[in-house]
Structure formats: structure tokens, C-alpha cells
């Protein structure tokens, strides 16, 4: 049966984190460094900088060949500066001391630029812009540079675990999938993978050291299997299953663009959750009832520091304009726990899920919170922006946030900046808030079923070992949801659910039975959620 060097077919089964089918070459990555270029050894970093300078010089020569003599003079100066090893001396010294190429280069050039900016003579001062040009050209090449090639398009990434930032740094538009020996079906990466439609299997019992790079692999997100070097019969079976899934998906796609109605005609509002404004660019706003959850952590994950008011305003405004009058529920910064932000969240909390996160952190850092509120009030002038506070446990937290919002509005109005007061609502994810929901004077309630479930069941969402306990359809969770839904209906306040459970067809009947009439799901789950809704007969529910 085994001929030549060909490996035998290897098939392992794990747990599905994100459904779907993918076939492609294996890229085994290590958790430490791996397929994406991080901080390398000084030798590699120095080489990266040398290569980037050489590439920048080549760009300048190319440019000089295509510009007039005035431009060529400027380029001749830049070229001469870049060719001069004195310019990069301090950068290479810093790299030798362990600094990354990018940081070392920027620091060296910034010092040089500072010297020019400090000059009295305008002609020397003006050269600072040339130095900035040189700095950015090389830095740009460096940031795009890889010491080892990244995974090819459509690759099946195989490793222990994957970080959200690494997931986000990859281009999934050409297909591909994720297979992890550890990982979690309910963590952040799984949520992202479902939103992008990237198949992902976790908890595989697999010897990573024995895997060959670029071996053929199949990920079957329906049966939770990863197959390495599949035999012909396996391939045929896989192709047939993928085709069948595609057919049922196109059935779901038919539902996707229609308003959601139950079998007996009850309308259900279905919004989308987004983690990055880029997600809506290819979406038609008519397929949903608005954005039920905007995770603003995307703005704060940047390594260039916290986003200023203008950056936030532009991002929120884009969403408000996209939604064209439909509600856009923007959650204030929900940092902490599994979403740490350097310099903002606390390190070394023994139990970060029960620590300084969400609204607790925002109230502790009012200057950051107020900047976000100001940006939100400004964006609200362009659409139906709503503010949603995460991790609220006490009515006092809502009222403190409201007074910060008042202040932000007064400041903006005094300065004559166009703004509008957004509706202020809360996430219901802390059991205390669910149990005492009638104590909160919130404009709306949105149930965060991921955290609510893990807190009610005392089962961490990132622990596969207790995954069975982490069940949003457990009666304890459903009773709390029902209580919140009933309260909302009684007092006429909107109640929705924006956790992952809302996008899971198997949970939808139970959620509607609990009284929910609004769900917010990932854009990728829109079709299947609406299809599941259409099968539910509300009149027949007890």
C-alpha cells in the first residue's frame, strides 16, 4: 500500500470551532515565533534592516530615473543620506542590544530628524521632511518584510494555538483553515473565524513535529476532522460533502437577504456583530436590521497607542453612515480578561475574567472613557448610534457612565461641535445585572450570552475541559434570559442577544422560546440564523 516516500493518510478528529470545508497545503506554525515575522534574533533583525535599506535605495534609483531634474536633486540627497552608513549606525547598535529592526530604525532616524527640526536655518529645517521620507520608506519595507515567508494563500494553519492578532494579520480571502492541538471553540479566535467563515477545528490529538510543511490537508468542519495526505477515496468523499454543504448554504443564503420571520409569521430583528469596520464594506445594510454589537477593541489594539477622538469618530461615523438610519449599537471599550491591551489593562490578575474589565476599567480610566464618549456623540449626529456598556453589575455604574456622557455632550455643545445624545444601554452578562434587571434605567438591554453563560455555569469559555458545562441552553441561563426579556417587554425597552448562541441554529428555538425577539449574530451566520428562525413556530412554543 505504501509506495515511495508518500505518507499514509492521517485522520484526526477534534472539536468544531468554526464550520465549513477547506483544502490546502499545511503550514505548521510555532506558538512562539512562527509563520509571521515577530522580533527575531539580532542577526536576523540586522539583516532585515540591511535588506530594507537596500530595497529603499533601489526604489529611490527607480524613482530618480523617472522624475525631472528638480526631483532628481532631492532624490540624490535622500539616496546619499541612505547610502551613508552613519545614518544607520545607531540603529544597528540598538539591534545588537536586542531592539527590533523597526524600532531601532525609527529611533535612530527620529533622533536625526530632531537635529534638523532644531536648526535655526530654514534650509536645514526643511530637510527634516526628507529624513522623514527616508524613515518611512524603510520602515514601510520593514513592516512588509518577512524573514520567513508567510503562509501561502489558502493554507491550512496547523499549530498549538492561534492568537487573535495573528488571525487578523492573515489574509483569509483566498480560503484556508485552522487546525489546533489546543485552542478553544468559544474563544476570541473562534468568534473571529466564524465571522470570516474560516473553518477551524480545535483540540486535535496530533504530533506537530511529525507533520511535513506543505503536505496536503483537508478540514471538514462538519465532522471536525483534519485529514493529512488524503487518499483518493477520502478526497472524493470530502468534495461531495463540501458540495452538499454548499447547497445547504446557498439555501441559507436565500434566507440571508430576507427579513427574518418565524414559521407563524412573527418578525424577529436580526442584526450583525462586527469586530472591525472593514467587515461591513462588502455587506448590503438591507440584509440586516442594523449592527447589534460593534466591538471597539479593534481601535485600541494598535501598537501606536490609544486612538484619539478623531480616529474613533471617523470609524464610528463610517458605521453610522453605512447603516443608513438603522441602529448601530457600539459597545464601549471592553478591554481586560481575554482582551488585554498593553498599558491599559492590569497584568497579573489571578482571575482576569472576574477582574478589572469592561465598564469597570472605563470608569477607572475616565479620560479614555470620555474620549470614546465624545467620539460616539459626534458620530451619533450621522446616524442611529447607540452606546452599550459592557460588564455592568450595578445600577451605579450605568449612572456614572451617564454623567460622563452628559459631560461629554455639554463640552461638545459648548465648543459648537455637531453631536447628538445616543441612547444608553447595557450588556446583560454579569448574573447580578440579569437577576436585578429591573433596577437598571437603561434604554436597552443586550444579553452577552458568552460571558453570562460562563459566569452562571462557572465554566470558563476558554477551557475546553469544561466545554460541556459552558452551555448557553442550560435552564439556568435560559431562565435569566427569559426574565430579562419579560422585563423588557413589560416596560417597553428593547432586549436583544448578541452572544455567539444567537448565531447557532441549534439554540435559536430555545432563545425565541425564552421570549427574545431580537438577535445579533456574525455576518457569516446571518443566513443560517434566519433559516433556523423560519423553522420555529412561536405559537407552538410552551
Amino acid at each position: 500500500m505504501r509506495k515511495g516516500m508518500r505518507m499514509a493518510e492521517l485522520r484526526v478528529t477534534g472539536r468544531v470551532a468554526s464550520g465549513g470545508f477547506a483544502a490546502g497545503p499545511v503550514t505548521v506554525f510555532s506558538t512562539g515565533g512562527g509563520a509571521i515575522r515577530g522580533a527575531g534574533e539580532p542577526v536576523a533583525e540586522a539583516q532585515a534592516l540591511r535588506d530594507a535599506i537596500a530595497a529603499a535605495l533601489e526604489q529611490l534609483w527607480d524613482l530618480a530615473a523617472n522624475v525631472g531634474s528638480d526631483g532628481a536633486d532631492i532624490l540624490a540627497f535622500q539616496t546619499a543620506m541612505l547610502e551613508d552608513e552613519t545614518l544607520s549606525e545607531t540603529a544597528f547598535a540598538a539591534i545588537g542590544a536586542g531592539v527590533t529592526a523597526d524600532r531601532a530604525w525609527r529611533a535612530a532616524l527620529d533622533a536625526e530628524i530632531g537635529g534638523y527640526e532644531a536648526a535655526d536655518d530654514v534650509h536645514f529645517k526643511a530637510r527634516a521632511s526628507d529624513l522623514r521620507d527616508i524613515r518611512d520608506r524603510v520602515a514601510g519595507i520593514l513592516s512588509g518584510a518577512t524573514t520567513e515567508p508567510g503562509p501561502p494563500a489558502g493554507a491550512i494553519l496547523v499549530g498549538e494555538d492561534l492568537t487573535p492578532s495573528r488571525f487578523l494579520s492573515m489574509d483569509w480571502s483566498g480560503g484556508g483553515g485552522i487546525a489546533l492541538t489546543q485552542g478553544s471553540a468559544s474563544g476570541h479566535v473562534a468568534t473571529l473565524a466564524r465571522a470570516r467563515g474560516v473553518p477551524m477545528i480545535v483540540g486535535l490529538d496530533l504530533d506537530l513535529g511529525g507533520l511535513a510543511q506543505r503536505a496536503d490537508a483537508l478540514i471538514d468542519g462538519a465532522s471536525a476532522t483534519l485529514t493529512i495526505e488524503p487518499e483518493a477515496a477520502t478526497r472524493d468523499d470530502f468534495a461531495a460533502r463540501a458540495r452538499a454543504a454548499k447547497t445547504s448554504r446557498s439555501a441559507a443564503d436565500e434566507f440571508r437577504t430576507r427579513p427574518a420571520l418565524t414559521a407563524d409569521g412573527t418578525p424577529i430583528a436580526v442584526c450583525i456583530n462586527i469586530a472591525d469596520p472593514a467587515e461591513v464594506e462588502t455587506l448590503d445594510p438591507r440584509i440586516c436590521d442594523g449592527i447589534g454589537l460593534v466591538r471597539t477593541e479593534f481601535l485600541f489594539g494598535d501598537k501606536h497607542g490609544l486612538p484619539d477622538e478623531e480616529t474613533q469618530y471617523q470609524a464610528y461615523r463610517r458605521l453610522a453612515e453605512w447603516a443608513a438610519g438603522k441602529p448601530v449599537t457600539i459597545r464601549t471599550l471592553d478591554a481586560g480578561a481575554d482582551k488585554p491591551i498593553a498599558g491599559l489593562t492590569l497584568d497579573h490578575e489571578a482571575n482576569p475574567f472576574l477582574g478589572m474589565r469592561g465598564i469597570r476599567l472605563s470608569l477607572a480610566k475616565p479620560e479614555i472613557f470620555r474620549t470614546q464618549l465624545r467620539a460616539l456623540c459626534r458620530a451619533a449626529a450621522h446616524g442611529a448610534v447607540e452606546i452599550m456598556l459592557p460588564m455592568v453589575a450595578l445600577p451605579r455604574e450605568l449612572e456614572l457612565a451617564r454623567s460622563h456622557l452628559d459631560e461629554a455632550l455639554i463640552g461638545l455643545q459648548a465648543a459648537g461641535v455637531p453631536c447628538r445624545r445616543p441612547e444608553l444601554g447595557i450588556m446583560v452578562e454579569v448574573p447580578a445585572a440579569a437577576i436585578t434587571v429591573d433596577a437598571f434605567d437603561a434604554a436597552f438591554f443586550s444579553i452577552g450570552s458568552n460571558d453570562l453563560t460562563q459566569y452562571v455555569m462557572a465554566a470558563a469559555r476558554d477551557s475546553d475541559a469544561v466545554a460541556e458545562l459552558n452551555d448557553p441552553s442550560h435552564p439556568a441561563v435560559l431562565r435569566l434570559i427569559a426574565q430579562v426579556a419579560a422585563y423588557g417587554a413589560r416596560v417597553g425597552r428593547k432586549v436583544s442577544l448578541c452572544g455567539d448562541a444567537g448565531g447557532e441554529p441549534r439554540f435559536i428555538e430555545a432563545l425565541l422560546a425564552a421570549g427574545l425577539r431580537a438577535l445579533s449574530v456574525s455576518a457569516a451566520a446571518l443566513g443560517s440564523a434566519k433559516e433556523a428562525i423560519a423553522r420555529v413556530n412561536i405559537g407552538g412554543l410552551g
Binding site: 536633486d73 532631492i74 540624490a76 540627497f77 546619499a80 543620506m81 551613508d84 552613519t86 545614518l87 536625526e112 537635529g115 536648526a119 536655518d121 534650509h123 536645514f124 526643511a126 530637510r127 526628507d130
Partner: protein, 108 residues
């Protein structure tokens, strides 16, 4: 400090000083010699490598500055003569940088 076999000074009559274009020319010319060559805006220094544009620009020699050169090596005297000539010739027709009008052009 190292011994320099030759030194010379040349008044910088360039109208706007040792800016980008003159510096490119000066360092390019200096690099055509084997000798170690240094330049300074004052005979007491600071002396910098005349082959490094980064260092020459850092001198920020303004218009009217007297440039001092010193060289050490087999072609030191030839290097100094050439550099003097470059400055005396107002950087070979580079009467202006950044469109500035020339003043005191020796070859006007």
C-alpha cells in the same frame, strides 16, 4: 588625535551655506580620494568625516562660514586642492539651493 598631513581652509562663499545639494557634491568629491578627509566650520572643530553626508549636513554650515579641511593619506594634497576648488567655484554653478537667489557669486 591623529596627525593630518595637510590642512587648508576655503571661505564658503556659497549664498546659502552647506545645504543639501552642496553637501552631496562635497561628499561625492571627497569619496573619490583614498585619504581620510575631514571638514569643520571652525579651525577648532568640530571636525567631521567629509565623506559622510550625514555628518557634513550635521555641521549646519551657514552662508559665509569659512570651511576648514584637513586630510591624511597618499593623495591628501590633491584632495584638499580639489575640495578648495569646489568651494571656490561655488559648488560648480550651484549658486542656489531650493530656488534661493545667488548673492556674491564669484562667477556672476
Amino acid at each position: 588625535m591623529d596627525e593630518f598631513t595637510a590642512t587648508s581652509s576655503a571661505p564658503l562663499t556659497n549664498s546659502i551655506g552647506l545645504h543639501a545639494r552642496p553637501s552631496v557634491k562635497l561628499t561625492k568629491l571627497a569619496k573619490t580620494f583614498i585619504s581620510r578627509i575631514e571638514v569643520a566650520p571652525d579651525e577648532n572643530g568640530p571636525w567631521v568625516d567629509a565623506k559622510s553626508i550625514v555628518k557634513v549636513m550635521a555641521v549646519k554650515a551657514a552662508k559665509g562660514t569659512t570651511l576648514h579641511f584637513r586630510a591624511e593619506g597618499p593623495d591628501a594634497l590633491a584632495a584638499l586642492a580639489a575640495l578648495r576648488e569646489l568651494v571656490a567655484q561655488n559648488f560648480l554653478g550651484d549658486e542656489a539651493d531650493s530656488g534661493e537667489d545667488a548673492q556674491g557669486n564669484a562667477h556672476g
